[in-house]
Symmetry: C2
Subunit: 232 residues, 2 copies
DNA sequence: CAGTGGTCTAGACCACGAT
DNA sequence: TCGTGGTCTAGACCACTGG
C-alpha cells in the first residue's frame, strides 16, 4: 500500500519541498505520482489517509501540509481561548464573519424554551492558531436579552461582553462532541475541503438560574485539537 | 457532486437492498455505479465521505451499512460499560483477544515510573454493541501487582476484578482523546478497514495514593460514539 | 464459483491559485 | 497563463465472502 511508503517518506518530502524554511508544504500530487511511480488517484488516496490520521492537512486548491502540534483542550475547564493557546505557545486570533438577527432552527428554540418565531443573534466566527484556520462557530443567543450586541467587539471574548456589558454570568456548560465530516459551507470558510474529518461540538452555557445563555456550534479541524479530561 | 445525490437517496437505498428486514446494508458498489451512472472510484469517494460523516460504515469485504445510533458517553463519569449501554437500549459484550505478560513501550513505562525491563500484563479486548464491533483496547498493568491476572474472567469488568480480587480501587482517571485513523491491525480485529476515522483514547486510572493502576489505549469507531461533558 | 470489495492504472476536463 | 488541486471516466487484477 502506497500509503505506508509515503508516510515513511514524509519528513524528507516536506523538507525537499521547503523553499527556504517554509510552511511544511508537500510536493504537488503530480510530482508525488512521478516520484513514487504511481497515479494521481492512488497518491490522493494515500494522502487522504494521512489526513485522516492527522499527520497532514490540506488547504483548498493550495496543497498538502504537515500538521503542527495540536491544541490541548479540557472540555471541563471554562478557559479563555487566547489564554489556552498562549500557554501552549500558540498565537490565537478570532475573526468575525457575520452577525445578524435571525430565527433559529427548532433544536435551538427548544433548548431556549422559546417558540419558532423568536429572534436570535447569530454570530458567525472563525478561529486561527498561528494564522492557520482551525475552527468555525455559530453562537446563538436571544436577541431580546442582549440589545445592541451587534455593535460590540465580537472578535474578542463573548463571555467578557456578556459579563461586562449585560451583567450575564455563565456558571456552567454542557458540551456534546461527535466526530463527523466538515460540511462544505464550513469548509469554505476555513479554506479547507468539505468532507475532512472534524470535531463538532455543541455547547450550551447556563447562568446560575439554570437558564440557557447561549448555544454554540463549533467545527474543529480534527488534527488541530486534542482533548484531555480528568475525572474527579 | 455525487456524494450529495447518494446521501439523499440513502434511506431508499438501504430499504431496497434489504433482503427481508436485514441490517441496513447498501447495494453493492457496482450496483450503485450503474444506478447513478457513474464509476466505481467516484461511488467509493462518495461512500467514504458519508462514512466520514458517520452516516454509514463498512465492514471489510462485506459492504456498506447504515449506522445505528451512537453510544452516548460522559468521559467524566466512571460508569460501567454494560450499564451505560443498557441504559441506552443497547446490548454490550466484550471479547478477550489476548492476555500476555510482556514489556511495554517507553511511554507506558514512564507513566508507571518503571524502567523498560518491567513486566506488564497486556490485555487485548474487543467490545461490541448489539454484536457490532465498535472498539478495541489494550490494557497495561504491572504484572507484579496483579499475580494470576491471566486466569481471571477478563471478558468482564476489569475494575471489578481489581477491586474484588486485588483490593485495588480506582479513584480517578485521566483521558486523552484525539481523532485519528484506525491502524490496520486494529481495523482487522474490528472487521473494518484501516484508515477509517476513529477516536483514540488513552486513559490512565489512579488509586487514592495517586499511583497509576492501569494504562488503557482504546480505539473507537468514530460513528459509534458521542461524548457529553458537563462543566461544574 | 460468481460476485464483492481493495487496490491500482491511465487518462480527462474544469476552476482556481500563483505569477 | 501555467500548474495546481477537484472531480470524474473506464477500465484492470486480486483476495476474499457467500452461496
Amino acid at each position: 500500500m502506497l500509503y505506508q511508503t509515503i508516510k515513511d517518506a514524509l519528513p524528507t518530502l516536506a523538507e525537499t519541498s521547503a523553499d527556504k524554511k517554509t510552511t511544511g508544504k508537500l510536493p504537488s500530487e503530480r510530482q508525488l505520482q512521478q516520484q513514487f511511480n504511481s497515479t494521481r488517484v492512488t497518491v490522493r488516496e494515500a494522502l487522504m489517509r494521512l489526513e485522516a490520521e492527522g499527520v497532514i492537512y490540506r488547504q483548498n486548491r493550495i496543497g498538502w501540509f504537515l500538521c503542527p502540534k495540536r491544541l490541548l483542550w479540557d472540555p471541563i475547564q471554562k478557559v479563555n481561548f487566547y489564554q489556552l493557546a498562549k500557554n501552549q505557545g500558540l498565537h490565537a486570533r478570532t475573526g468575525l464573519l457575520a452577525c445578524k438577527k435571525t430565527q433559529a432552527n427548532s433544536d435551538i428554540c427548544r433548548a431556549f424554551a422559546l417558540d419558532g418565531q423568536s429572534e436570535f443573534y447569530e454570530i458567525y466566527r472563525i478561529r486561527y492558531l498561528d494564522e492557520r484556520p482551525v475552527m468555525v462557530e455559530k453562537i446563538y443567543c436571544p436577541a431580546g436579552q442582549f440589545p445592541g450586541l451587534e455593535d460590540k467587539a465580537l472578535d474578542g471574548s463573548i463571555t467578557t461582553i456578556f459579563q461586562d456589558d449585560y451583567r450575564v454570568k455563565v456558571s456552567h456548560e454542557q458540551s456534546d462532541i461527535i466526530v463527523t465530516a466538515l460540511p462544505d459551507d464550513k469548509a469554505e470558510q476555513l479554506n479547507l475541503n468539505g468532507g475532512a474529518a472534524c470535531l463538532k461540538i455543541i455547547r450550551k452555557r447556563f447562568n446560575t438560574n439554570q437558564e440557557l445563555v447561549d448555544y454554540n456550534i463549533e467545527y474543529w479541524l480534527h488534527s488541530a485539537i486534542e482533548m484531555r479530561v480528568q475525572s474527579n
